[in-house]
Amino acid sequence: MKKWLWLSLCLISLCAQAEEKKVRIFAAASLTDVMNVLIKQYGQQTGEQLVPVYGGSGTLAKQLEQGAPGDLFISADEKWMQYLKDKQLVQAASIKPWLSNRLVMVTPLAKPMSIRTEPSTDIRQQVPGYWCTGDTVSVPVGIYAKQSLMALGWWETLKGRLVSTQDVRATLRLVERDECDVGIVYASDAQSSSQVKVAGEFPENSHVPIVYPMALLPQAGAQANGFYRYLQSADAKKWLISFGFKPVFAD
């Protein structure tokens, strides 16, 4: 009995030690593909291993608020960054607008469609099925989507068949599987999938500007700082553009 107790204690302390040094990047779900590449590139250049944590920006912010160990936070909107800033959970001086993106409608590959984003479009007639996007209260893509749908006067028509997902990637999957007829995602997500087709783009003035801010968290050390600088380098810019994002930083 005593032996087992010791053994488990040793195991736990081993795990604890292994956990300690990891630098964690909390990034919005829409960044999944490009962030995986950036982390790999950075790893090859410096030999450092970073751990990404992806999710809806709100989910991540709430986790960080509850004390999740993170070093860098990249949100898909300014609201959630402000949320953490108000609670003094990010290094305020390090907050920087990093990327911009566009908001598009996608359909399953087999059912291409062209939807004109004008108030005059009869959306009830043209697209009778289900629409998917991130939760319109908490997930950035859903918040932008709601603004655009309201600006176009489509919100009341679509409200009852708008399916909420936990992040933008879940929306993309549902459209790929043809469970949803239309998904509202970022242009970068649409580009990342070969199973969906863009049906139309929302005018930029129909929603608040899409800005991905990033910030260091209070416990961030030298390693996290290094990656934070790398993310604003010319090399990172090249990758971001190739994945369909629009960098807004000066390298």
Binding site: Y130, C132, D135, S138, S164, Q166, D178
Partner: protein, 227 residues
């Protein structure tokens, strides 16, 4: 006291849970009888399969349902093309998701009760000329009634709490598949949702406690009647 939105969520949850129990009753009684009374090759395997939803992560089941019954799923595609039935994002999808999760709970309860029925009573009925079906419905099932009741209540409560399979298969659609747990989840994700989430948490506890109290009351009444 309750806002109309909250009331709608509670009513939807109760509707899904009640339908889940109704859908399960016959198959669960049948499966429980097979497992309790029949001995055949593959019995252990069938038993394991029935119990699988209890140990599998709910999200796996939700995904399996999506692959099977989704609009492009093996079965779902036919349903959609022939009858224009789409289960995803429909409250029947939520019923199916929670029914799959609750099935083993119900089977277990009924099976345990069936095992306790004295086989001599069944044999006596049979020697008096009753068909096996008649024996089952007039002797075995009435004697195992408490098991059916327990199973139904367990399934009802499980359905009220179902989250993972529902959100994966039926999705999170307000007024259609957003049951109590999904509504609570959505609120905990939003910036100022904590207070509203807390209200739903209390509501959820209340509903569950009432369900359990009703089950105890029913069981006691049943016991008294048997004595």
């Amino acid at each position: 006291m309750l806002s109309s939105a909250e009331l709608a969520i509670v009513l939807l949850s109760l509707k899904v849970a009640a339908c889940c129990v109704c859908v399960l009753l016959l198959p669960a009684i049948g499966m429980a009888w097979v497992l309790a009374r029949k001995r055949f090759w593959g019995h252990a395997l069938l038993d394991a399969l029935v119990h699988l939803p209890m140990v599998l992560p709910p999200v796996v089941l939700g995904y399996m349902l999506l692959v099977l019954l989704g609009r492009r799923g093996w079965i779902g595609e036919r349903l959609y093309e022939q009858f224009h039935i789409q289960l995803t994002f429909h409250w029947w999808g939520a019923v199916i998701a929670s029914a799959v999760m609750a099935f083993p709970l119900m089977v277990r309860a009924i099976r345990q009760a069936l095992v306790q029925v004295d086989p001599l009573l069944e044999q006596a009925a049979q020697t008096l000329g009753a068909t096996p079906l008649k024996v089952f419905f007039t002797i075995s099932l009435p004697l195992a009634y408490h098991g059916v009741l327990t199973g139904a209540i367990l399934a009802f409560s499980r359905s009220l709490g179902e989250f993972g399979a529902t959100i994966t298969f039926a999705g999170n659609l307000e007024g259609e598949t957003r049951t109590l747990p999904l509504a609570i989840y959505s609120l905990t994700q939003s910036p100022d949702g904590d207070a509203a989430a807390l209200r739903l948490v209390v509501l959820s506890i209340l509903v569950s406690v009432i369900a359990l109290l009703v089950s105890q009351w029913l069981e006691q009444r049943l016991l008294r009647r048997q004595q």
